[in-house]
């Protein structure tokens, strides 16, 4: 009986120790959005309800990526009041790649190297106030880089 109690309390203590730092992280890192496989689910996880196509976002990526493990992309938003830039790939094992939250004195302009699993649409989603805007570019991938 005593041993069982000890075991139980031990497990309880261990799970507390494990869960607390995970929670602290999850409070900032959007686990729901990053775990989403489908692009629509990832957008939902980011809180996107409606989205509008915009020509005020410049998304630069190669037309053809030899190696999907390293694809350099550049996003620049010309939408006034841009607060966040999210990068998603519709065919990746999990669609959401990155989400940047910017302060007013930070130019909404990011360059990053990403992985692409296979040929498909790459999307840049901009948050400005309560509005979301998107632009996309199709990237052909020779060798998938999402292993």
């Amino acid at each position: 009986m005593n041993r069982r109690l000890l075991l139980k309390s031990g497990i309880a203590l261990l799970s507390m120790l494990l869960i607390v730092p995970l929670r602290a992280l999850a409070a900032v890192w959007n686990s729901q959005a990053f775990a989403a496989v489908q692009l629509d689910q990832a957008l939902q996880g980011l809180g996107v309800k409606q989205i509008e196509a915009s020509d005020q976002i410049t998304l630069t990526a190669p037309d053809f990526a030899e190696n999907g493990a390293i694809v350099q992309i550049e996003v620049e938003s010309h939408i006034p009041g841009t607060q966040a830039i999210a990068i998603l790939a519709e065919k990746n094992p999990t669609a959401l790649i990155a989400n940047f939250i910017l302060e007013p004195d930070t130019k909404p302009h990011i360059i990053l190297r990403i992985k692409l699993g296979e040929s498909g649409a790459l999307k840049a989603v901009i948050k400005a106030g309560d509005q979301y805007y998107v632009t996309e570019k199709y990237v052909e991938v020779a060798k998938g880089g999402c292993n």
């Binding site: 999990t94 939250i101 990011i110 692409l116 292993n147």
Partner: protein, 105 residues
């Protein structure tokens, strides 16, 4: 540990370009080793950049960011001598940070 990160910040025509390299495996959790065992996911989740101690950029990353992440961002309000610090935290609780001074082009 600072050799695991590199930073360069150059001010030119009112815009400061900040380039940061972070040495990190960015394992997706889908790759297998030679013995056929899955290599656990190990990737940077959070990146925070500050200018003179004030937050200017916060990023959340998934496994789709390339190994040894290389990030460039731009600041409108920085000048030569200002201090830019970048810190990352990964899914295994590890973290690292680097500081650099803005230099004029």
């Amino acid at each position: 540990m600072t050799d695991l990160m590199k930073i360069r910040a150059i001010a030119k025509n009112g815009v400061t370009e900040v380039k940061v390299l972070m040495l990190h495996p960015m394992e997706t959790g889908r790759r297998k080793n030679e013995a056929g065992e899955v290599i656990p996911a190990h990737f940077i989740q959070l990146v925070t950049a500050t200018l003179n101690g004030k937050i200017v950029l916060q990023a959340q990353w998934g496994t789709g960011v390339s190994k040894n992440p290389y990030l460039t961002f731009y600041l409108l309000d920085a000048k030569a001598g200002d201090v830019i610090a970048v810190k990352w935290q990964d899914n295994q609780g590890q973290s690292n940070a680097i500081e650099g001074k803005v230099v004029a082009a």
